[in-house]
Symmetry: C2
Subunit: 422 residues, 2 copies
């Protein structure tokens, strides 16, 4: 009896844990949906597209026209509907073209094989499938084809194999092919219409926003890092919000893959909003690369912050103001670039800001050049200050690194400016 | 007449250009195949798998058993066969499980809808498709599900829609489902057998090789960078081969995506070679992250090489030897780590090497600490050397940065050692 009760309690505990796990999962999912409503809407769009297609089953006149092949319409919708318009278009165009090409080729091979007698038929069909499948698979490894026609190559293999191995007669094949093509067109057009008309998520726009927010993140991180470096001890900047800002550059470092796939998809998109059809999407990749370059420097810069080595205060005070000024100029330029990209209009102020940034670099360099002389002059007056000058080389390492990297960052920001100008 | 000749010549030129373009493309493809024979073999494997499946069309007894549904076997092979064993298994298991789950659910919903009368049937079917498709699409956005079950979720939507919208009667559905499942099992087992038995490409092994070669690249780049920094002017290191080595670290910076997808696939693989079933693949990601951290520093370090600012030669000479020693210790540790990972056996020499590296860091730090004193002592003897000491702060910036980053790199290498040890 006690055993039974115990096992019942155990079971209850198990169920409770299971339920709480599911609950937490749902909670997480809900938070994701709330934080990114676009994704939530995308899900509803997929459901809607499928419901549309299923209508063809219930409207008998249409159903009889399209026939049992309506299966292919469903399949097309499920496989082709992607989050961004560009990805959907890429898949639709690839699927339609590849199906058409491979279908015609398959019918042709089928006809040739049929003419050559029953003995040769399987050999011709088998070897053509083997050769074409191998060749198409190989083409998927070639970077330029992978970027644009990866899905198309897969559909090509699929359709060609299906058609040439189907064992139907050629005239049967032709009606089947006609049905297939019309259902696929039906599926793709539903997908394209829904993804373009209902809250469209343009890959180009996403790329634009990504590069934009990356510029802002870099600006925040840079300013935060330098401020932290020259004001440590005060500690008012070490709250959670600012440390989040300091870490923001890390997203930038790993943004390469996302940016590249978005740029690939954006190429398929028609003109929308303020983007033309042949908007220079590749330029965004260049800007992204320039930003990552800048981000690498910030990464190293941030490592010089969290060090136990105490930089001599006099040096810090001497250079702190000027460094902070430089970093704030740098981040102003970055924010201006973000604004330029956002509105896609060149501000005349950008050049002014870049000029100010470069002037701040010169100022810093001049301050550095005159530094030892200044100090040795001070040193001549009293002995205490002399010892201040003979600081071990090791103590100025973090400061020197920070300054060096700051100057380097300014140079790399100019690289970004050039990339944006293009 | 002249016009005709001209246009004929133009046409010839066009064809020649077209042919040369195709020729160059084929040449590139051939080079790719020669440099990576594994990929070439993969293509043949795909062709072979498809040929195997097509056999079922020609062996009539089998054909009658499996029926027209053999189409699904072809489809499975085309869609599921991936480059690595892990990816193939991931897709096979996902496809089989999702088809089974969605199929049973679809039949269930179908039955319920059939019981509830002709008026409610389309409503129940339509809304269940809408809801489940939306939910499954949403689940694909959740990172943990995306990593492991992305393909399964898609197949789930596909199968469920097909089954519940098919308009067949339930008993028809059951025989169809049986056929479907058996053909899919046929396709997946052919894929798995061919991908495992014929020159298998294990995702785990690829990941292993990737992390390994990354360690070696970092070691080469680091040593090359430091050598270049302290020996510029001699110029014997500036040939093409060494500049390639210097740039090698760049591959490491962008290896995150590849490593993550390989680790995801590796998790599906059975024990193979020296890897157990539950090999800690996640650890490789940690090692990879530690290496990228190290790579960021090398990136900044390399930017301090290509500078016009001339570092005072006396300082360079003073510190050059010791820095080069440290960098060679660092790259030795990296190479040792690569060897450790390659053989998966812990060498007792690793600790010794790490100890030596840390000793070199200490040596460098001590040299730095005593540097100004030494110089000021020299300065007391003659005026010429005194001016050497009062070098503008700006001139030592690159050197200071290089040294700082070198020490930081040594610290980060220890991070890699820790990650490898785990």
């Amino acid at each position: 009896m006690a055993n039974e009760k115990e096992s019942a309690r155990e079971l209850q505990g198990l169920i409770a844990r299971f339920l709480s796990k599911i609950w937490r999962f749902l909670e997480r999912a809900w938070n994701l949906g709330v934080s990114e409503p676009k994704k939530f809407i995308h899900c509803l769009k997929v459901g809607l597209a499928l419901s549309f297609v299923s209508l063809f089953y219930y409207m008998r006149p249409l159903y009889d026209g399209v026939g049992r092949n309506a299966m292919w319409a469903i399949m097309t919708v499920v496989v082709v509907f992607e989050y961004t318009v560009g990805a959907t278009l890429y898949k639709c165009i690839n699927r339609a073209t590849a199906t058409f090409l491979a279908g015609s080729l398959g019918v042709g091979v089928h006809w040739v094989a049929g003419q050559s007698g029953e003995n040769y038929e399987p050999i011709i069909l088998g070897s053509s499938v083997f050769l074409l499948a191998s060749a198409a698979t190989f083409s998927r490894f070639i970077p330029t084809i992978k970027a644009r026609f990866d899905y198309g190559a897969m559909i090509f293999i699929l359709t060609f194999s299906l058609v040439s191995l189907s064992g139907y007669r050629v005239d049967e094949l032709l009606t089947m092919a006609q049905n297939r093509v019309s259902t696929i067109l039906l599926g793709t057009s539903i997908c394209i219409l829904i993804s373009v008309l209902l809250c469209p998520v343009w890959a180009g726009n996403e790329l634009h926003l990504l590069v934009n927010s990356n510029a802002e993140k870099l600006a925040d991180s840079l300013e935060g890092c330098v401020a932290e470096f020259f004001s440590n001890g005060i500690g008012n900047t070490s709250n959670e919000d600012s440390s989040k800002k300091l870490q923001a550059y890390k997203c930038v470092l790993n943004s390469k893959g996302t940016a590249e796939s978005l740029a690939n998809f954006a190429r398929w998109e028609p003109a929308h909003g303020s983007f033309n059809f042949r908007h220079p999407w590749k330029q965004y990749l260049k800007i992204g690369a320039a930003m990552r370059n800048c981000g690498f420097c910030i990464e190293s810069l941030s490592s010089s912050i969290n060090l136990e080595v105490q930089v001599p205060k006099s040096l810090k005070k001497n250079l702190g103001d000027i460094c902070m000024r430089l970093s704030s100029h740098c981040s102003q330029v970055m924010k201006e670039l973000a604004a330029t990209m956002k509105t896609m209009r060149k501000y005349s102020t950008t050049n002014v800001l870049v000029g100010e940034m470069n002037f701040a670099v010169l100022e810093l360099q001049n301050a550095l050049k005159s530094l030892p002389n200044q100090l040795s002059q001070i040193g001549a007056k009293g002995e205490q200050t002399t010892t201040e000058f003979i600081v071990p080389f090791i103590d100025i390492l973090p400061l020197a690194t920070a300054i060096f990297l700051l100057i380097e960052i300014a140079a790399r920001i100019e690289g970004i400016v050039d990339a944006v100008d293009e």
